[in-house]
């Protein structure tokens, strides 16, 4: 029962060859991922707008509502339908969140409260996004 074997690919078909221990290339892969994380974080930190927190709610990439969070007087639960789904967006003085949604993955609800410029929560199935920008900040740096 000899299988096609190649010395450069010892895992191919042999039982013996899959005794795995980490190799130096694994560290290179890890370093590349960490470098990507660092670069993305740096580009994020650089582009975070300053100033008063403004929540922008966008649907299919179009802004449908803007709220200056510091000027919110009374808490409000905003009900909105997007795509096939229903959302409750909770707006309180200084902060905002997806309170509930009937979308399948619940990622938007799990994202929790947002109160600082740069914060973001999205429901991709419903194409609904809340992001916090800063008043007067150069918002378009981090948007398309």
């Amino acid at each position: 029962m000899t299988r096609r074997r190649s010395p450069r690919d010892p895992a191919d078909g042999t039982v013996r060859a899959v005794s795995e221990r980490p190799r130096f290339g694994d560290a290179l892969v890890l370093a590349a991922i960490l470098l990507a994380i660092g670069l993305l974080w740096w580009s994020y930190a650089r582009a975070v707008p300053h100033g008063d927190a403004i929540a922008r709610i966008t649907q299919n990439g179009v802004t449908i509502r803007e709220i200056v969070l510091s000027r919110v007087q009374a808490p409000e639960t905003w009900e909105i339908a997007s795509g096939e789904y229903q959302y409750h967006i909770r707006i309180e003085p200084g902060r905002i969140r997806f309170e509930s949604a009937d979308c399948p993955d619940q990622v938007c609800v799990q994202s929790g409260w947002m109160d600082r410029p740069g914060h973001m929560a999205a429901c991709v199935p419903g194409r609904l996004l809340i992001r916090i920008d800063g008043e007067g900040g150069d918002v378009d740096v981090i948007t398309r």
């Binding site: 005794s19 795995e20 892969v29 993955d105 194409r127």
Partner: protein
Amino acid sequence: MSSPADSRAATRRIALDGLLVAVALVLSIVERWIPLELLVPVPGIKLGLANVATLFALFRLPLMDTVLLVLVRSLLLGAITGPTSMLFSLTGGLLALLAMRLLRPLHGRVLSLYGISMAGAAAHNTGQVAVASLLLGNAGLLSVYLPMLLLVGIGTGILTGAAAIPVLRRLRAPQPPFPWEP
């Protein structure tokens, strides 16, 4: 495709491919029940257990079978979980496969399954967030959300790599002769 041996091998190949699709699909569904975000507070993270099936196919089966495995699993998963999940799974799965296939020749001396699986997880995450950015019309998502996913992906990549090692060690590929090999 005329001799009985050929048709028996072809049948075995189809059966094995079907089995792998079923395993990958079950793993994809089961991992949705694991509340991983309670442990790691990043919304929407998954273990990526189906990658174990992809890794097995990558090392034991022809490339075409592996591509089909990813495609069919994503389409069936989409039928269960909806079109957005299907797009995520399709883009992420194919990008992960591409990355791992490109690294496969380095397996052995240079890379272990841990490294290959980590790279696959990173490619999967990148594809997913890219699709989300396109659908939402907001590229900011890439710099906000992707770093968190990549960080978690290092851990889940190592885990799925570790899970694939005993699978690859114990399960042999179908025995020759193969109709798809020269």
